[in-house]
């Protein structure tokens, strides 16, 4: 927390359902630990009507302040300000965050305060992550906490220590917004205090910090959604329909995805099942009867992979090995062998096809 302001927020950006408990533990425990330092705090859950669908990006905030008035002001906001650290619980979230309709795909660091830290749980290098993270107009820090994304569930607590390691890292990267000692003291009331203390220390020590200068990173293409006034809006809650053959650019859904379907077109029997079952109508029929995938709108649910009758024809592959959302059938069209090489290479790069986690 800087000197001039007495309130700071920790943004925990996570994947709906799978990481809700994880985010909940982090924000709650940070607040409780802060109370040991005579600070006040609360948590804010940012949800939409599509709040906790499997994998959809969502946020929880821990707000920590020196006085009640500073806290009260932030507690009535959907997204508290002065975010000193954004904890990214899955590194594929660095591709963008689109939780709620009408906001567009927002950069992962859109609300990071100048000088703040983006703390990503990842095995990737800063260069790999910066390939996706948009540049800022101010200096900031990219911190990497080595680890796999931790996926549990709404009713399942995946007790792999990611929560406590993240809290330890938060203490380190914020220069003591909450001290490690307070976190360890707070963990004294947990079930396994020694294990928790070790995890907190591990996070504190293993986190790698990389200063990022203003202007470094991916191009920032985010354009905030236009907000007409009440006299400009069409009456009766009417919006123009999306044109036939086009998709809704205001709600893309791809940031929900941690794995994407890769189709082995040369084994496809053109049965149309994927086209029929995809809940987001992502399959585009090609002239020769294959089904290309619209990766801008695929949420990675894996239903197509589960439904395809040909074994290995649709495989779910880790999203982080892909650079763009370009459809891939055109590669197959021009050179089937080259496509198969590309497909095999991506599967290998991802360490094999993922067993998808499935939505429904």
């Amino acid at each position: 927390m800087s000197d001039e302001t007495s309130v700071g927020a920790v943004d925990v950006t996570y994947r709906g359902i799978f990481q809700k408990n994880l985010a909940g533990v982090i924000t709650k425990e940070l607040v409780k630990a802060a109370r040991r330092e005579d600070k006040v705090g609360g948590t804010v859950q940012r949800y939409g009507d599509s709040p906790e669908r499997n994998g959809i990006p969502a946020k929880q905030f821990a707000v920590i302040a020196d006085d009640m008035d500073s806290l009260r002001v932030e507690m009535t906001k959907y997204e508290p300000e002065n975010v000193v650290v954004v904890c990214v619980m899955d590194d594929t979230l660095t591709k963008g965050v689109e939780s709620w309709a009408w906001y567009g795909v927002r950069p992962i660091n859109v609300n990071l305060a100048p000088g703040g830290t983006l703390l990503v749980v990842s095995h990737r290098s800063p260069e790999e992550l910066l390939h996706w993270i948009p540049r800022r107009t101010y200096d900031w820090t990219l911190a990497i906490l080595p680890g796999e994304p931790s996926f549990g569930g709404l009713w399942v607590y995946n007790d792999d220590g990611t929560d406590y390691r993240t809290m330890g890292a938060v203490s380190r990267v914020t220069g003591g917004l909450i001290s490690l000692d307070s976190l360890i003291a707070q963990a004294g009331s947990a079930k396994n205090p020694d294990l928790r203390a070790a995890q907190l220390r591990e996070g504190y020590e293993s986190v790698q910090m990389h200063p990022i200068a203003a202007g470094v990173g991916a191009q920032d293409t985010y354009v905030p959604v236009e907000m007409p006034d009440w006299t400009q809006m069409r009456e009766g809650l009417v919006v123009p329909a999306v044109e036939v053959g086009k998709n809704n650019t205001l709600f893309m859904k791809y940031t929900t995805r941690t794995t994407r379907p890769l189709v082995k077109f040369d084994t496809c029997v053109k049965c149309q099942i994927c086209y029929t079952v995809c809940p987001d109508e992502c399959f585009i029929p090609t002239p020769e009867g294959h089904y290309d995938v619209n990766y801008e709108h695929c949420c990675g649910c894996g239903i197509c992979a589960q439904s395809c009758p040909v074994s290995g024809c649709i495989e779910m592959v880790d999203e982080s090995v892909f650079e763009s959302n370009e459809p891939l059938h055109k590669v197959f069209e021009s050179d089937p062998a080259a496509y198969e090489d590309l497909r095999a290479e991506k599967v290998a790069q991802a360490g094999g096809a993922n067993p998808h986690y499935g939505i429904y």
Binding site: G48, Y78, A101, W102, M227, G236, L237, V238, V239, A241
Partner: protein, 424 residues
């Protein structure tokens, strides 16, 4: 409105019909396209009347009997959305059961017209009139009107479609009619001819909002906090504009039919020089006028004021008409347990309407006629005397009195009264 030039009367025939039948006649004359129904007393008489007219070939419309009020109202909403003139209706808890569909009809700005045959809310399962059912939509963007007679029911159904479908308004309109006393009593009614009616109510045009393959639009998408308030402000603007549109339509009613109400918003009876006034909505106006005549005959300066349009609420009219009046008794045929002075909904609205006045009359709340209990002329005379007493005392006892209820005015188990003795 009294200055309106009356033209030669339009051709009409006289019939003795109930309030429900009068609405059905209006629906026929308006060539309503889709009627969605679900039976419940007492509104369902309109279903009977309409289905008979359709069977007799007098009316050409889709008449859909749904499996519940919720579906019924959704059918009306969707019919309206594709450009059909639609009608729905219900009573009591039936109206409540479809509340979600009613609310979205208003927020989608669809000019469905409804008949609420006012009925007590269950429990107990009573058939008689209470106004609470229709009141439930008062904050949601429904235009609301209480009629007194079968003639007014017919005329106001025509007005309701004209105002609701006006591009400047585009809000649904509920017509409230006292169960039994009007839904099931027959009055002499002048029934106009279809040509005159179509001269008064132009065809329904939804314009670029019409849900149709030629007009690809998405209706009611998921909105978040960045959009909801603007949508609410639009509904609010429609309701604000409704006042001028109602006035304009009422003036035009006179032009087309050669008759019509003096004031679009309120029915004021012998209000000139009135010192004391009784107010109410619906059929209580009939006895109210008799009571006023008797009191006037006895030399008292008393008038009766019947609120017709409840939404938009006639604040300007009430302020003007009650200026200089000494005491006002508000008769609610509804309840709002725990509200101001323990009075009803109309009382609270009237009190709020008069608040900006520098000199306000003494205002006395009454609850009467619940569950269909008769309100007699004597009841109204008694209320007027209470108003006079309260005014003379200077400090009015504002706590609401229940008129016509069996038992004492004061509660023998009132906590203040039993403070020393504890709970009895």
């Amino acid at each position: 409105m009294t200055t309106t030039q009356e033209t030669a009367p339009a051709p009409e025939r006289e019939e003795i019909i109930t309030g429900c039948d009068a609405v059905a006649q209006a629906l026929r004359l308006l060539d309503v396209d889709v009627l969605a129904g679900y039976p419940i007393r007492p509104y369902d008489s309109v279903m009977t009347a309409v289905s008979k007219m359709i069977a007799d070939g007098q009316m050409d419309a889709e008449f859909i009997v749904a499996e519940s009020e919720h579906s019924q109202f959704e059918i009306g909403k969707h019919a309206s959305l594709v450009g059909a003139r639609a009608f729905i209706g219900s009573s009591g808890v039936g109206w409540m059961y479809g509340m979600e569909a009613l609310v979205v009809t208003a927020s989608l700005r669809l000019p469905v017209v409804a008949l609420v045959g006012n009925r007590a809310l269950d429990d107990p399962g009573a058939f008689g009139v209470e106004h609470n059912d229709a009141m439930m939509v008062r904050d949601t963007g429904w235009l609301l009107y209480w009629v007194e007679s079968a003639q007014e029911a017919l005329d106001t159904t025509l007005l309701a479609y004209r105002v609701a479908e006006d591009k400047r308004v585009m809000l649904p309109c509920a017509l409230s009619m006292d169960g039994a006393f009007l839904t099931h009593s027959q009055h002499m009614v002048r029934v106009p001819v279809a040509d005159t009616v179509s001269a008064f109510v132009p065809p329904y045009e939804l314009g670029d909002r019409r849900f149709h393959p030629d007009n690809p639009v998405s209706i009611a998408p998921q909105f978040n906090e960045d959009w909801v308030m603007e949508a609410r402000r639009q509904s609010d603007a429609g309701m604000r504009r409704a006042r001028a549109v109602i006035a304009e339509a009422t003036a035009d009613f006179h032009r087309v039919f050669g008759r019509g109400p003096a004031d679009p918003f309120v029915d004021s009876y012998r209000m000139e020089d009135a010192e004391y006034v009784l107010m109410g909505m619906g059929t209580v106006g009939m006895v109210g006028k008799v009571a006023v005549d008797r009191m006037r005959a006895a030399g008292k300066k008393v008038g009766f004021l019947r609120v017709k349009w409840f939404r938009p609420f006639p604040q300007p009219e009430l302020r003007a008409l009650l200026r200089g009046v000494k005491g006002v008794g508000v008769v609610d045929r509804d309840y709002s347990f725990g509200s101001n002075s323990h009075g009803g909904v109309l009382y609270t609205e009237v009190a709020a309407a008069l608040y900006p006045e520098p000199r306000r009359p003494v205002l006395v709340p009454f609850i009467a006629g619940l569950g269909g209990r008769e309100v007699s002329v004597d009841n109204l005379l008694e209320m007027e005397e209470t108003v006079e007493r309260a005014t003379a005392d200077g400090v009015a006892d504002l706590t609401c009195q229940w008129i016509g209820v069996r038992g004492p005015d004061s509660d023998p188990r009132d906590v203040a009264a039993t403070a020393e003795g504890g709970v009895r």
